[in-house]
């Protein structure tokens, strides 16, 4: 898996998207992240590890506390990739419309 594949896979899960959305408002500890979810700390930790592997979240240690920070670069790659295909198909479907008109 390359970086973009990892980012896509990491973002495919709704819980992980919620974690990302929360971290977008500021850094947080793993325990802070777990609070709004009906999930064990262990389950949240697993999600955080996936996000870390994808390079979307960075972890810093402050003594016993682990502080998580969002890292946006891999997400920008996803946006770029997606919008390119959206643009591609829109242009092609417009061309199909022109073609159908021309052969009426």
């Amino acid at each position: 898996m390359n970086a973009l594949d990892n980012a896509f896979a990491a973002l495919a899960d709704p819980t992980r998207r919620k974690i990302i959305a929360k971290l977008a408002r500021g850094s947080a500890r793993v325990t802070d992240l777990a609070a709004p979810f009906d999930m064990s700390l262990n389950a949240i930790s697993k999600h955080v590890k996936v996000l870390e592997r994808a390079g979307l979240v960075h972890r810093r240690r402050h003594g016993r506390e682990h502080v998580l920070t969002l890292h946006g670069a891999p997400m920008r790659d996803v946006v770029t990739w997606l919008s390119r295909y959206e643009r591609f198909w829109n242009i092609k479907l417009d061309a199909l419309g022109e073609f159908l008109k021309s052969t009426n």
């Binding site: 990302i20 890292h71 946006v79």
Partner: protein
Amino acid sequence: MQTRNKNAMGEFGLKIPRTYDAPAAKVFDAWVNPKSVKSWLADGEDVVVDPRVGGLFYLEMPWEKRIYPHYGRYITIDAPRVLEFTWISEGTRGKESVVKIALKETGGKTQLTLTHDGLPDEEQVKNHTGGWSAFLESLAKRI
């Protein structure tokens, strides 16, 4: 049994609707007739299409100042309603994504819905944020 590489890009997809002032049979034909394909979809030198289930296609597509080869195989051919094929290119990093063209004719007009799966997106995200890319873009801006 069709096989899909769901893991290629995650389990998301693009969905783009269009309405054409033409009967469904004509719209469908434009996707599978080599001459038509060459005039609107792939205007490169080489176009090979073999529109039968399991048949392969090869398209050369100029895009952003370069020629990109695209290829795939047909999964569903149900004229003039559904055409489904795998889609492989440099953009998919050589992995299979799946494109589905669904047509619905009403009063001489044809509603086309293109979905491209194996790309990132999910309905639930759309419902909450009005679009996967919009969601990510707004996040990217805040970081």
